[in-house]
């Protein structure tokens, strides 16, 4: 029973952390362009030529 008092808050806390992370990423627009995100890995960064 004592173990539960520690484990349950930890489990709930971690779950809430995941939920908060999801909301954060949703608000930051990370789900706005899912197909684009998959393709961007192929985009090569341009060399900095400008001073």
């Amino acid at each position: 029973m004592n173990g539960l008092a520690v484990l349950i808050p930890i489990a709930l806390g971690l779950g809430l952390l995941g939920l908060a992370a999801f909301f954060w990423s949703l608000r930051r627009g990370q789900f706005d362009d899912l197909d684009g995100a998959a393709l961007r890995i192929f985009v090569e960064d341009e060399e900095e030529t400008a001073p």
Binding site: L4, A11, F23, L26, D33, G36, I41
Partner: protein
């Protein structure tokens, strides 16, 4: 350059297809000094620019053009503010909350099922209640709201049994918890919400995706015109800011942004989007011209007479408003099922309660069994059955170049048994195509290509397209010069070559251009609209699928006849928008009619049809009015869409059958009191997985 001077603008760029395009646009656009940053949204085919505030719209579009992309400005820069996207974001948030709660409650429930008892069980039940009640209050809102709306109008829909089931289950579980009872259904109630929210969210994602695609296609949004100022200077004015009395300078190849009268210059206008007529119309000073028509030949100055709601479009818009009312009365299959389902479910639960009371089980035990019946029969699989199948189908169709606006469109497309098709722009390509190019000599071909490439005139572009398809090499010419209204001139060795307007009017009203070397006529190149390449095959396929096809055209009988003959279709010609609407209404009495059209004149008929489709080249009105848009030059996607719609409907019916079969097994068990929370949870997730799995079979159904 200070950051404060930057303004943000959105552009729809339909041609973004690969990672290369993203790189090219994002890195290429910022080389333009007026553009500070560019960000591509691939999913919605949009580019978001931050540019200096005095950058003119044509310059920005020019920046896209130099990179080889066609861009269309999108009305307001704040595209995120639209309510539909906010709605699906709200749903996603509810899905996330319900998912989080479901997992945690399930964790606690598993311990209860596996034998926790006494104080531990009570603790777990209380914890579950603490997680479940706020979740139900938050994530259940879409259902409660819609159920309340339906009840207030004395109707019932899918959400009524859902809301009653969830509320009753949580109330009873709370009582169980408080009285140290063994069964709490918090897990069932939250799981139900989670699955149903997934269905809702899928449905709204599907609508969003199609809407994004369609926004990218709407090219007349936020257009404008070069307006001649008092001091002879020109400036760019958005279509919404145009006022009567202004004089627009309309270049060849541009669409008119407002109705008006020609004040200077003469040209020919392509009316095909407006009236369906394929032959261009000659306009001289004082001629009345309409918004949406394409200037073909030479620049003209047009005095604006009416804008926005006052244009000739307003009449068509009014007709469309009336025509669309019929469609809004359509009841979706899930709601039709719910009309039968909801009373049956409530009757069953009531019966269970009364039955056990009569046997003398006591109200507490009887209520527990009634709640178990409600939870088991809750249309969990039904709520997923339809959207899951439809989103898979819409995704497949999108990959094949067809945008379906929403799930109801797929349902209506599946019921269609007759098709009425517009000619200009739908059966035909709706743009001038070069005829008999192969007959020209090789050097003439290469000269024509070199000159045509230098011009943005619609005929030059058609010629370029035709010649490039033949793999013609470009001749080596220099000092190219374009004279608006006349043509292109260049030096080829010591010869002067010109490509331009025929010196004397060609017989008939066909479009043509002439190539001369040193003033001597070498070749006359004619243009004509032609049938889409697979028109015959597509029409035959429609017939073999049991769909009657006929032509409804605004064009003259003489122009329609050859097309009708080639496709062996019956045709009605010379029809006004009202005529088309009336013809459709006559057929709608006995048939479910699919209207396929592209022009403004098809708008009312598209809105009135049981279902409607438009090609990607259609007018904005046509694209807005239709359920479904197919991209590209081929007609075969129409056939694929109808077949896919029918298959989807078949899968939806199978899913219904599965859900009903599951109820037939589970309801007697619930009736007898064998359904504990554990059984309910297993049955619910099992049936949902089955239904989603069945929907997945639609993947790759097109190929």
């Amino acid at each position: 350059m200070t950051a404060a001077a930057l303004i943000e603008r959105d552009f729809a760029v339909p041609d973004i297809r690969c990672a290369g395009c993203i790189a090219k646009l994002e890195q290429g656009l910022v080389r333009d000094r007026r553009i500070a940053s560019a960000r591509v949204n691939f999913t919605e085919k949009r580019v978001h620019l931050a540019c200096v505030s005095d950058a003119e719209m044509p310059d920005l579009i020019g920046a896209f053009t130099t990179l080889g992309f066609e861009a269309h400005p999108i009305g307001d820069a704040l595209g995120d503010a639209d309510p539909a996207a906010a709605g699906s974001r709200e749903l996603l948030r509810a899905v996330a909350v319900a998912g989080f709660a479901m997992m945690n409650i399930m964790l606690l429930s598993v311990s209860v099922w596996s034998g926790a008892s006494g104080a531990t069980r009570d603790l777990f039940h209380w914890l579950s209640a603490m997680i479940a009640l706020p979740t139900i209050a938050y994530a259940g809102r879409p259902f409660f709201r819609s159920a309340w709306r339906a009840l207030r109008h004395r109707q019932t829909n899918m959400d009524v049994p859902i809301s009653i089931g969830v509320l009753l289950a949580s109330a009873l579980s709370l009582y169980e918890t408080a009285t140290h009872g063994p069964h709490a259904y918090f897990d069932g109630a939250v799981m139900l919400l989670f699955f149903l929210l997934c269905g809702r969210w899928l449905d709204s994602v599907m609508r969003d995706r199609a809407r994004g695609g369609i926004t990218a296609l709407l090219r007349n949004m936020g257009t404008g015109a070069m307006v001649l100022g008092a001091n002879g200077k020109t400036r760019w004015i958005d279509a919404t800011a145009l006022e009567p009395g202004m004089v627009m300078l309309v270049a060849a190849g541009e669409r008119l942004a407002a109705d008006g009268a020609v004040v200077r210059g003469s040209s020919r206008l392509d009316l095909s989007l407006l009236t369906g007529e394929s032959a261009p119309q000659l306009v001289h000073p004082d001629a009345r011209v309409h918004a949406g028509t394409l200037n073909l030949d030479a620049p003209v100055e047009v005095k604006v007479s009416a804008v926005g709601a006052d244009t000739a479009l307003a009449d068509i818009a009014r007709l469309m408003g009336e025509a669309a009312q019929g469609k809004s009365r359509y009841v979706r299959i899930a709601d039709r099922a719910a009309r039968l389902y909801a009373p049956a479910v409530h009757a069953l639960a009531l019966l269970a309660f009364v039955g056990w009371m009569v046997v003398g089980a006591g109200w507490h035990h009887s209520l527990l069994i009634a709640v178990a019946v409600l939870i088991i029969t809750c249309p969990c699989a039904l709520g997923l059955a339809v959207p899951a199948a439809q989103i898979v189908a819409a995704g497949e169709l999108m990959r094949a170049g067809v945008l379906v606006k929403d799930g109801s469109a797929l349902e209506r497309l599946a019921e269609v048994d007759q098709a009425m098709i517009d000619k200009t722009g739908t059966l035909t390509l709706g743009r001038p195509e070069v005829r008999d190019l192969e007959r020209l000599d090789a050097h003439v071909q290469s000269l024509a290509l070199a000159l045509a490439q230098a011009s943005r005139h619609p005929l030059s572009e058609a010629l370029t397209r035709g010649l490039q398809a033949l793999d013609v090499a470009r001749a080596d010419v220099h000092s190219i010069r374009e004279t608006p209204g006349f043509g292109v001139e260049a030096k080829w060795g010591d010869h002067v070559v010109t490509l331009g307007r025929p010196s004397d009017p060609i017989k008939g009203d066909a479009l043509a251009t002439q190539l001369s070397i040193d003033g001597a006529l070498v070749a006359t190149i004619r243009f004509a609209d032609r049938l889409r390449p697979d028109a015959r095959a597509a029409i035959d396929a429609l017939r073999s699928d049991g769909i009657d096809v006929s032509i409804l055209s605004g064009d003259r009988a003489a122009a329609v006849a050859p097309v009708a003959r080639e496709l062996a279709m019956t045709a009605q010609t010379g029809m006004s928008p009202q005529d088309k609407l009336a013809a459709l209404a006559r057929q709608s009495v006995t048939h479910k009619v699919l209207m396929i059209g592209d022009g403004l004149n098809d708008g009312p008929a598209l809105a009135a049809g049981h279902a409607s489709m438009a090609p990607g080249s259609a007018s904005d009105v046509g694209k807005n009015a239709s359920d479904c848009i197919f991209l590209g030059d081929r007609l075969m996607p129409i056939v694929a869409t109808l077949r896919m719609a029918r298959r989807t409907q078949a899968i939806v019916r199978q899913n219904f059958a599965l859900a009903i079969g599951y109820n037939v097994v589970a309801v007697p068990l619930a009736f007898l009191g064998y359904v504990t929370p554990l059984v309910a949870a297993l049955a619910m997730s099992g049936s949902s997985l089955l239904v989603v799995g069945n929907a997945m079979r639609l993947k790759r159904a097109i190929r």
